[in-house]
Symmetry: C2
Subunit: 625 residues, 2 copies
Amino acid sequence: MNILDLLLGKPLAASDERAQQLGIAAGIPIFGLDALSSAAYGPEAALTLLIPLGAASVAYIIPISSSIVVLLAIVFFSYRQTIAAYPGGGGSYTVASENLGTFAGLLAAAALMIDYILTVAVGISAGVGALVSALPRLLPHTLFFCLIILALITFINLRGMRQAGIIFMFPTYLFIGSLLAALGVGVFKSVMAGGHPVPVVAPPAPGSAIAAVSVWLLMKSFSSGCTAMTGVEAVSNGVRAFREPVVDTARRVLTIIIGLLMVMLAGIAYLVRAYHIVATDPGKDGYQSVLSMIVAAVAGRGVFYYVTIGSVLLVLALSANTAFADFPRLCRAIALNGYLPDSFSLRGRRLVYSRGIYVLAILAGSLLILFRGVTDRLIPLYAVGAFLAFTLSQAGMVAHWKKNKGPGWGRSMFINGLGAFATGVTVIVVLVAKFVEGAWITALLIPALLFLMMRVKRYFVRVEAELFSQEALDTTKCKPPVVVFPVQTWGKLTQRALQFALTISSDVHGVHVCREEQKEQLKDEWKRLVEEPAQRAGLPVPKYVELESPYRLVITPIVDYVLKIAAEHPSCQIVLVVPELIEQHWYHYFLQSNRAELLKGLMLLRGNDNIVIANLPWYLKRTEI
Amino acid sequence: MNILDLLLGKPLAASDERAQQLGIAAGIPIFGLDALSSAAYGPEAALTLLIPLGAASVAYIIPISSSIVVLLAIVFFSYRQTIAAYPGGGGSYTVASENLGTFAGLLAAAALMIDYILTVAVGISAGVGALVSALPRLLPHTLFFCLIILALITFINLRGMRQAGIIFMFPTYLFIGSLLAALGVGVFKSVMAGGHPVPVVAPPAPGSAIAAVSVWLLMKSFSSGCTAMTGVEAVSNGVRAFREPVVDTARRVLTIIIGLLMVMLAGIAYLVRAYHIVATDPGKDGYQSVLSMIVAAVAGRGVFYYVTIGSVLLVLALSANTAFADFPRLCRAIALNGYLPDSFSLRGRRLVYSRGIYVLAILAGSLLILFRGVTDRLIPLYAVGAFLAFTLSQAGMVAHWKKNKGPGWGRSMFINGLGAFATGVTVIVVLVAKFVEGAWITALLIPALLFLMMRVKRYFVRVEAELFSQEALDTTKCKPPVVVFPVQTWGKLTQRALQFALTISSDVHGVHVCREEQKEQLKDEWKRLVEEPAQRAGLPVPKYVELESPYRLVITPIVDYVLKIAAEHPSCQIVLVVPELIEQHWYHYFLQSNRAELLKGLMLLRGNDNIVIANLPWYLKRTEI
């Protein structure tokens, strides 16, 4: 058992695939963490923008949250249909490119990719941010904790999907259970008290109003609240990861995730209003999150409070995992169409698309390092991507129904059309409301990524065109090659190179770059030890070539000679034989001149299609240092 | 003219060597900077240890400096003889190893190498230290300046010896001229005033005596003063670098350097006594160097003062250059005997031993970085190495005279014997006096380096023994090889690999690692496009081999197959043909899977002497991205 097996688990054969698939219980943490955890920051983000209204802000949370819940319901019914129509995985990319064309598909893909990268960075940094605001001593180590969590999530995902599901089950269900309990108790108390419950721990008094309500303010609040909906599309993209019957399992998981999210959003909005909770400014002293105020008002600051808030932190930090489940699948789908390198479509030892996992980890890690683990400023960037993908996906479904016209296609088309319309309007609202704060960056990045993918495709198309052929083997071109090899001294290495050269050609050139001392000796040895035996054996006689090197370069003259021979024999292959000592210990390479490596490198750099480089290794024995 | 030509100068042919050789005027800066600059810190180091004696310290500088000057004279006569006896370059290493055996030679070499590395670090850091003590604003940039100067010296040396001599001429002669002028004027004034001159600027009053004089204290003071003698051996090592007649030129350069150094040391000692100059503590406020006090006492703080002190700073910082002239020559001599890698003996484009220059720059740079540019603590380390090398070199000369017995060999042997004795005693004194302060580190490093060089030699001896052969070409072993090559799809790349394979062998295996989709198609294409045409042309039919890969690995199955074939054909060479796309732009490599590179690497790692790896490049055309 080697070290990789121990770290990453034994390699899985393709036939092990069934066992790696997800049931409902494991599917919820894998594909739902992102969506569910956004209950912790969506309402908060909406309320924060209402702070200037003072106590009056409480009145507006119900309409804003209701709009979001309605939007969520529309999106839910849209995606239910998508899952059924695309049981092979119906992410925005697939749906949009199949129905609206490549360009729309890549646009959705670019939007989603950027969204996922941001999700990872923002999720981890939000979790760590909450942790360090609870334990300010840890503040200087923010970036360190962020990267540790990133490494952990990456690592767990490299071990495979199923294990990720099992590991993340505990914090996810703890979060769902404790938050639902807090909300349930709160609503019960409130109803019992006729809508005016007495808080166990009173929330801070609201500041005085410094602004009147305006449509613009409500629009911005709604846009911020919409971040609660990111991550909803993950299930439809990952249908293939579920257990048979895939469509049913995926639909049930989607229903549970969105149902829970809706209940949470509604419960939070109701209690904010009932307990008159106003957001506090996250940049200032006395900041407390909305969820923290609600739980304290409902249950006081006991064990229950700490368990609930602790599970929120955990779930926030782990919400990055949804992106890790989905980003590699998205990249695979794109790679299969040639818009990303082929390696994104290969599954690693644990049946995951390792390349996508690495790329996501590297990009998100770079963001975290660039922003030193504080990525609040990135939040405005990321609802645009998600909603753009929603819109394109729903619009694609509309085209799908129009084209295929299955039973009840009219109703289906209407539902998806409503979804496309609602999310499309939301994209515009979010883009306008958040443009100055950062949405413009997304508006630049998405086309840039789109352009890059188109260029990648163009490259692959050209390479394929260059290499494509259905011509049969052309046997007329099989002329014997000319063999050139460097000779430093006579010895076993040269003996072997020469023997090999003679097996493949009758035109062999031993090339010696002169250093005065050895000149005559080698010439003499060549005559005695090579030419004469070859003549006696009736073999073609290998040529001995001396190259002058006034500037003491050893490698360039050999490369020049090979190029000269290649020019003289345009219809032949030239084989440059490079004997190379293979050391037993890596540190022995410091002792060698690495001339073989340099010769191979320079020859490749300056060579052409007719020049083959044959590496003749000599494995050194019993050479201890 | 390319960028390297512009930076480093045009390459020089070996026949340009004459023009690169040094006359007396250029030889003094090259080989004398180290020795001459030590006049600036040797007496200072001796006096610093006498601070506890207060005003009484002045009395002891004359005997201490006299001992050093006498020692210098002995060493001078010894090295004059060495130069004549070894016109090919008679460094301690050469002399000791030829006359006292390999072990003594390597011991001297190790001592000198460590000495040179320390010289570079300490010289540069002393110069920069003096600069920042004059301009305290620069203090935070100490390391930066050190590395800049190191880079500059390295760069100048890579451009060749002669240019280094020309560039360093100005500061060297400015230093010699201004310091000699200051000392001459001072001595003249003092003699005129009957030994009691009136200082223009009075030196600080001495502190009160806090210790009585002791033999131990004088021994330590003498040991510190001996650092004034480091760098003296450089000329004898570099005889080959001088113009014809080399022995005369080298001897004259040595005479001038040591003569100047003796005059400076004597003058400084005389003026210290005449002006009652007591060293100040370098760690405390009000610190002023001894040279600064002397020049101020003699000439006041005018333009002349600043020119002199400025030239001292410059010469200190550039004293590292002597090590750069000598270290690479020393490494070359060792490499020619096989105790260091061969590459140390190759001359670069400008006829200098570039490898030695790089290694010295890297090691000295590491020391500077490790000590953040403040290497005062390294000073105690470095007289040991120099004097050990002196001793071994003189002792070697004694053995030389005894063996060769030329005319006047008795007198010569006596002079070298006296030198060996005097420097040998000094080694012991320095080692004892400085042991606790750091000489123990040298006492550990020298044997460590010695051991390493012995191991390097052992390695080369073993490799040579393994590869040595005077057997004639064995033509019976020239059996045709078996060729294996990977096939992914049918296309021009495969066509070419197949054509090449058929030119060198009749036993050709096209190996396909299965990914389900292509399996049947490729099998069919092979039959139609390869087997049938080959049969029709009467050529041997290439085999098509399918490899299963349950773990989706692409490379390992191919390597395993090659190893299997190699085991089945123990008397044949196996050629693994690896087609590889060569991109036009480096960034295109991100798009490729790098499978060719990985395949070559893994095959080399797991292969054996019978497996040849033939790299078949395909240069992509017109593939812009």
